[in-house]
């Protein structure tokens, strides 16, 4: 009896503290961690087979800025942007050269003056005949350059006046090697000064057969109407060339596309919620994309704000903050 008691006491004595320390500790943490992880698993960490659905109430859609659209047809215009310059229309340019070398007696027009065909620009006294004769404009237009000063002797190898018809101007677009295969005669071009300033449409009327040795660019030309006179030669512009325009049965904005595990998806609305639908992409431009497969006409999809839905799907894998 006595010995037994002593034995029990000693045993208890030694075991209790050991048990206390061995037993306490991390159980609670683990439990909460486990439940946390379970929850994460419910959200679906492994992608693939299982059906994944995100549900959001209408209020939440509004609150989080998720927008819906119905799939439908559209036009995809592919564009490239190239730099260019406004130049004088060389087809509508006149070099006015005095017929005989002589002293300029009078200059009637200055740079910038509009002239009519046949209007007198200057009076020159011929050195040979010593007769004064009139130098006349050969076409309607504007004097864009003048090299005539009263009293000087003007030879016949240099034009005294340049008259250009600025009702139309040339837009010389620099077409780089990478773009060259796509640029064709007749393509629509939006010529713009950029930054929300003026823009105007035209068509490509000429593509240079050679590439410039210095700049390694070909020139594509648009003849632009310039009745307003605002397209001043020398201006730098951007040309947005529509290299193809095509109709497609399903076109959605690029903001609707999300990527999950290297697969493009679109969130489709169904009765249960939103389903990530893998899609195959066809043609696209900077803002829209054609869906070849995965979306049919009339289906309601998330056109903007899909990141929230994607995040909700992948929430479990976010981990705790940034550490470990």
């Amino acid at each position: 009896m006595k010995l037994l008691l002593i034995y029990i006491c000693t045993f208890l004595l030694v075991m209790t503290p050991v048990a206390l320390f061995a037993g306490d500790g991390h159980d609670h943490d683990e439990k909460s961690e486990q439940s946390e992880n379970k929850k994460q698993d419910d959200h679906g960490d492994e992608h693939g087979d299982e059906e994944k659905i995100v549900t959001m109430t209408n209020e939440e859609l509004v609150e989080f800025g998720v927008f819906l659209s119905k799939a439908g047809s559209g036009v995809i215009r592919k564009e490239i942007v190239v730099p260019g310059e406004i130049a004088v229309n060389s087809d509508r340019l006149a070099h006015i050269v005095p017929r005989f070398t002589g002293i300029i007696k009078d200059v009637r027009k200055k740079v910038g003056d509009p002239v009519k065909k046949g209007e007198v620009l200057a009076i020159v006294e011929s050195n040979e005949s010593l007769k004064a004769y009139e130098v006349k404009a050969l076409m309607d237009g504007t004097v864009i350059d003048k090299d005539a000063t009263i009293g000087e002797v003007h030879s016949t190898d240099m034009p005294a006046f340049l008259i250009a018809d600025l009702d139309t101007v040339w837009v010389n677009l620099s077409i780089y090697q990478v773009h060259l295969p796509f640029v064709k005669l007749g393509q629509d071009v939006i010529v713009t000064l950029g930054h929300g300033q003026k823009s105007q449409e035209g068509k490509i009327s000429y593509i240079s057969p050679l590439v410039d040795e210095h700049t390694r660019t070909a020139t594509a030309r648009v003849v632009l109407d310039n009745k307003s006179g605002e397209w001043r030669p020398g201006l730098l512009i951007e040309g947005i060339i529509g290299i193809s325009t095509s109709e497609a049965s399903i076109v959605i904005p690029k903001t609707a596309l999300q990527r999950i595990d290297e697969v493009d998806i679109v969130f489709l609305q169904s009765d249960e919620g939103f389903i990530p639908q893998p899609v195959v992409i066809g043609r696209s431009n900077h803002s829209s994309v054609e869906i070849v497969h995965g979306l049919t006409e009339g289906q309601t999809y998330v056109s903007k704000g899909g990141l929230t839905l994607k995040s909700e799907l992948q929430k479990g894998s976010f981990g705790e903050g940034h550490s470990h």
């Binding site: 061995a22 037993g23 943490d29 730099p83 950029g194 700049t215 990527r259």
Partner: protein, 1042 residues
């Protein structure tokens, strides 16, 4: 020997008194100079190296910055671990040192090596810098700038923050850094229109160089004129926006081309990787104050607040600093919790003394033990750099009742002797005799209490840092109480206690006073009954033990109860790919939801990170500080936890956001610990991130098959979309362009390049050159960025590079110079050791890791195993030590066993106490059990010593048992009640931090109940079995004992 100590004290009473007063003065001095914190600082000894390299992806950061820094740190002394994280634009290398290293010394070591590392980091890839001289507890105050006029832009407010507020706050002693976040750092933006570069034929690098070349001041020594010196300085710095606009970039045919013709110049904000929002309506500019290591939080906060008042006066009309988080109230509350407990405890103890002692004079002698011991502990705390905090002061609160125990026994004995002694015996002699009688057991019992705390000193990591201070202060205070009992109490008794005139009829009553007289009336028959029927006593013990055995398994267990900081923080984690604008939008939605809760007065959210030094979060992570009404005004919860649950309910699920409620200090500490919470963490080390991910997935699959595996999870290391621009070497060869030219153009055009600084007085602002937004916002536009060839032609980027959208790593973590990925797993319904073994075999068999790849096994289980191993040695060793002490005190194995018998019965009381209070078994509860060991042993010792003495005096066992127990009733009850009542304020306290102290107090109080019953009833009863002499030789015993 022990007698000699007391004799010495009694012979040199004046000296002792002076020493006592000196100790108290020195103690008070130390106490007032102790650094005060809320909690013990659990952060590790860590030096952080931050390197900011703007705009660089994790891969590049790792290669160019993290790696050189990391390798340079190898081989430093006392390094525990080097861990690094390479994030977008930021490299953080954490160098963990052994805890005993001095923080300034480690910083110096790191700094020395950093010079080496700097040489390895390519020019322009950032300057590594040490983190603030602080710890996880260092973020003491957060504030934001309130603009009631609504006229200041975010840039202006940020400039006020950076150049006025921060500047001034940094001068406050004890502040090591102030980190700004939010708004926009002011910059001068030179926004380029690329077509104009083409038009004027200016290349981007040329343009940037021109700006740099037109912005400098020089000095040209001095000029002597008329015996005077004129210092010559040439001023050419740009000072305004116009100055920048008027820089001539080029001259064409004599026509100067001004910068303004090519670019717009305007004031703008720097690119951001973090911001702060407020109440879901606006962005705010904010600052985080970090205190210097080792300074007193509340003092520093006090100084900062005072300085803020001064700064407020300097700020423009309508702008004000609004602190939204500070640690001071937490510190005050935490300290108040324990100091209140201390004060009430002392009050209760004194009350007990008055009631039981039956006299003011002896009570005063005993009560003086408390201030003496506490102040003595303060001296030692200051010596070992222990701060006053919830735990260390908590240790004192726990010890309060125990501090008086030794003195009680002595004083009680003196008083009793005064009654019994021959009136002719001198007062001094009686005191000496009384002390000699109980001196030895007192020294041993106090020493035992100190010794039982030894296992606590071996705790490691967070628990060690949390409970270490408690163990220290208990030990210190007990030491103080020992000194007091031995040296001071006899001296004080000799001065203060008076011998009573003894009346004849009182003689048999042994001078028992008031209450004890009545208690004895009940107690004596009971103890007699028990002594007669030993089986009954044994029966009761067994029943009590059985109750304990039944209840014990029903207790839940938790690690450490969470310390309530009084501030609720909410952490949001969003998709790793999210952009700052979107995460801000989402955060503000959450803020608006929170604002609907009645108790919430405001929410301030930090998204991403601001100035580097404290936080390293990427933009997908947000931390919300929830500002609450005063607790008295709460309707939906009476304490923080309840309110937090209510807020969680109200908040609901947030689509696409993982939420986690936490607290400010907890959050920072978690961040620094970077520990893995799962039981099992398998780290796979290797070079290639894709291979790591692939193999880790395989390992996870294999482990998932092993029986018992739960929650297997592989770290997500990727998820950040990248636009990868690869330079086509053939293409650039055709144009004779260098890779560098292409890269620089991309960097400057898309990310922006700094072209010098503009000074406004001492304020300096970067001049940033960047393309206009319309020319760099999409991959197509980036493809249209022009690069000038050496021949002068312009080529679009698209022609020189290939562009690809890929998903890259969100961050790269490294440990011990290697990349790694973690596979975490919990184990259920099976022993973890065998699980690990089986899993290891399965992996060896089924997975063939590529060369250079290897796994390590770790996690909480490792720590637990280590802790268990340590305890398996330390606890038996401690018990052995205790047993040895008992043995050397009693010279009897049986006596020692009888005393040790106290322990299990005391434990039962603790267990029942926990069960009744609904508390879990936790680390503080374990600490309580440890304290209980000591107390129970002490009680037993005093009684057994006395019983032995009575036996020696010739009494029979039964007589001795009854007489001894009756005589010791007062002492045993008093020590039990002082200890118990000293702790009750902690049990009923609801103050800050009480949740950690409560389980401890409950265990001790519960245990005291059972152990007191045992001491008073069971020990006298079964004493004869454990007595030193043979049972039958009763009359002869006295002589046989030596």
């Amino acid at each position: 020997m022990f007698e000699k100590l007391t004799d010495f004290a009694l012979k040199n009473r004046l000296l002792i008194l002076v020493l006592g007063v000196l100790t108290i003065v020195a103690g008070y001095y130390s106490y007032t100079r102790l650094p005060i914190d809320a909690f013990p600082d659990v952060s590790q000894n860590l030096v952080q190296v931050f390197t900011v390299t703007e705009g660089l992806a994790p891969e590049e950061i790792e290669k160019y910055v993290t790696y050189p820094v990391e390798t340079a740190m190898n081989g430093l002394p006392s390094i525990k671990k080097i861990r690094s994280v390479s994030n977008f634009g930021l490299s953080v290398v954490n160098i963990y040192f052994e805890d005993n290293m001095d923080i300034y010394f480690t910083r110096r070591l790191v700094n020395e090596r950093l010079q080496e590392a700097k040489e390895q980091i390519p020019e322009g890839f950032g300057e590594p810098a040490l983190g603030p001289i602080s710890t996880g507890m260092g973020l003491i105050l957060f504030y934001y700038l309130e603009d009631s006029t609504g006229t200041y832009s975010l840039e202006e407010l940020r400039s006020i923050q950076d150049w006025v507020v921060k500047f001034n706050l940094q001068t406050v002693p004890g502040v090591t850094e102030v980190l700004g976040i939010g708004g926009y750092e002011k910059q001068f933006h030179v926004i380029l229109h690329p077509e104009r570069l083409l038009r004027y034929n200016v290349s981007l690098p040329e343009f940037i160089e021109t700006i740099k070349a037109n912005n400098l001041n020089v000095g040209a020594q001095f000029l002597e004129r008329n015996a005077e010196e004129f210092i010559i300085r040439s001023v050419g710095l740009v000072t305004s926006l116009e100055d920048i606009e008027n820089i001539v970039v080029k001259s064409d045919d004599g026509t100067p081309i001004y910068l303004s013709q090519i670019a717009e110049v305007k004031i703008g904000g720097a690119i951001r990787i973090g911001l702060q929002t407020h109440n879901g309506v606006s962005e705010v500019v904010s600052g985080h104050v970090i205190k210097l290591y080792g300074t007193n939080s509340s003092t520093v906060i006090g100084r900062v607040e005072k300085k803020m008042e001064e700064i407020n006066k300097m700020l423009p009309e309508g702008v004000r600093i609004v602190p939204y988080y500070e640690q001071k109230s937490l510190v005050v509350a935490a300290v108040a919790t324990v100091t209140n407990a201390l004060v009430y405890g002392i009050g209760l103890v004194v009350l007990v003394l008055l009631v039981f002692m039956g006299g003011i004079r002896p009570s005063v002698v005993v009560a003086l033990a408390i201030p003496f011991s506490v102040l003595f502990a303060a001296i030692l705390m200051r010596r070992v750099d222990l701060s006053a905090n919830l735990m260390s002061l908590g240790g004192l609160a726990i010890a309060i009742g125990m501090l008086v125990d030794g003195t009680i026994v002595i004083v009680e004995n003196i008083e009793r002797m005064f009654h019994e002694a021959d009136p002719k015996e001198s007062k001094m002699h009686i005191i000496a005799r009384a002390c000699a009688e109980v001196g030895r057991p007192i020294i041993f019992s106090i020493a035992i209490i100190i010794v039982v705390f030894i296992p606590l000193f071996t705790l490691q990591g967070v628990e060690g840092k949390t409970f270490g201070p408690l163990a220290y202060t208990v030990a210190f205070a007990m030491l103080g109480s020992l000194l007091f009992a031995i040296f001071f109490s006899p001296v004080l008794a000799s001065f203060m206690m008076k011998r009573k005139k003894i009346k004849e009829n009182d003689k048999n009553n042994s001078g028992e006073t008031g209450l004890i007289k009545y208690l004895l009336l009940i107690y004596r028959p009971v103890v007699k009954f028990f002594v007669k029927r030993r089986s009954f006593a044994v029966g009761i013990s067994v029943i009590i033990l059985a109750i304990g055995a039944v209840i014990f398994p029903q207790l839940g267990s938790e690690f450490t109860p969470k310390l309530q900081e009084g501030t609720i923080a909410l952490r949001l984690t969003m998709a790793p790919s999210i952009a700052l604008t979107e995460s801000t939008r989402i955060a503000q939605i959450v803020e608006r939801r929170l604002m609907k809760v009645d108790e919430i007065t405001g929410v301030v959210t930090r998204i991403g990170r601001g100035e580097v030094g404290a936080h390293t979060d990427p933009v997908n992570s947000a931390e919300m500080f929830i500002l609450l009404k005063k607790p008295e005004e709460w309707v939906n919860g009476s304490n923080q936890e309840e309110l937090q649950d209510y807020i969680r309910d109200q908040l609901g699920e947030i689509p696409g956001v993982a939420t986690n409620f936490t607290q400010p200090i907890e959050m920072t500490v978690d961040e620094l610990l970077e520990g893995i919470r799962a039981e099992l963490a398998i780290k796979l080390f290797g070079d290639d991130l894709d291979v790591l991910k692939e193999e880790a997935d395989k390992i996870a699959a294999v482990i998932g098959e092993v029986r018992g595996a739960a929650d297997v999870q592989v770290d997500q290391i990727s998820g950040t979309p990248q636009l990868l621009i690869n330079v086509d070497r053939h293409a650039i060869a055709r144009y004779r362009i260098n890779v560098e030219d292409v890269q620089e153009t991309i960097q400057a055009a898309v990310g922006g390049a700094t072209a010098g600084q503009l000074f406004e007085g001492i304020k300096r602002f970067d001049i940033l050159v960047r393309y206009h937004e319309e020319h760099r916002s999409t991959p197509e536009q980036i493809g249209n960025i022009f690069v000038q060839t050496p021949a002068g032609a312009w080529v679009p980027l698209k022609q020189l590079v290939t562009m690809k959208e890929v998903v890259g790593p969100r961050q790269i973590t490294r440990e011990d110079n290697q990349r790694f990925i973690t596979i975490q797993c919990n184990v259920i319904e099976r022993d973890i050791g065998s699980f690990v073994e089986e899993a290891q075999q399965a992996i060896d068999k089924q997975i063939n890791l590529p060369t250079g790849y290897f796994v390590t096994w770790g996690g909480q289980f490792r720590l637990q195993q280590e802790a268990n191993k340590r305890f398996a040695v330390v606890i038996p060793a401690t018990l052995m030590l205790v047993f040895l002490m008992l043995f050397s005190s009693f010279n009897s194995l049986k006596n020692s066993l009888l005393i040790i018998l106290n322990i299990p019965l005391a434990l039962v009381g603790g267990v029942v106490g926990l069960w009744l209070a609904g508390e879990n078994l936790s680390v503080p509860a374990s600490v309580g059990f440890i304290a209980l060991f000591g107390i129970a042993l002490g009680n037993g010792m005093v009684l057994v010593t006395y019983l032995n003495q009575l036996i020696r005096d010739g009494l029979s066992y039964d007589e001795a048992a009854v007489k001894g127990a009756s005589l010791r009733l007062r002492a045993v009850l008093m020590t039990a009640m002082t200890t118990g009542l000293g702790l009750t304020p902690l049990i009923f306290s609801h103050g800050m931090g009480s949740e950690v102290q409560r389980p401890l107090a409950i265990v001790v109080v519960g245990g005291l109940v059972t152990s007191t019953i045992l001491t008073l009833l069971v020990i006298p009863s079964i004493y004869r079995w454990f007595s030193v002499a043979p049972i039958k030789a009763v009359p002869a015993t006295t002589k046989e004992i030596k």
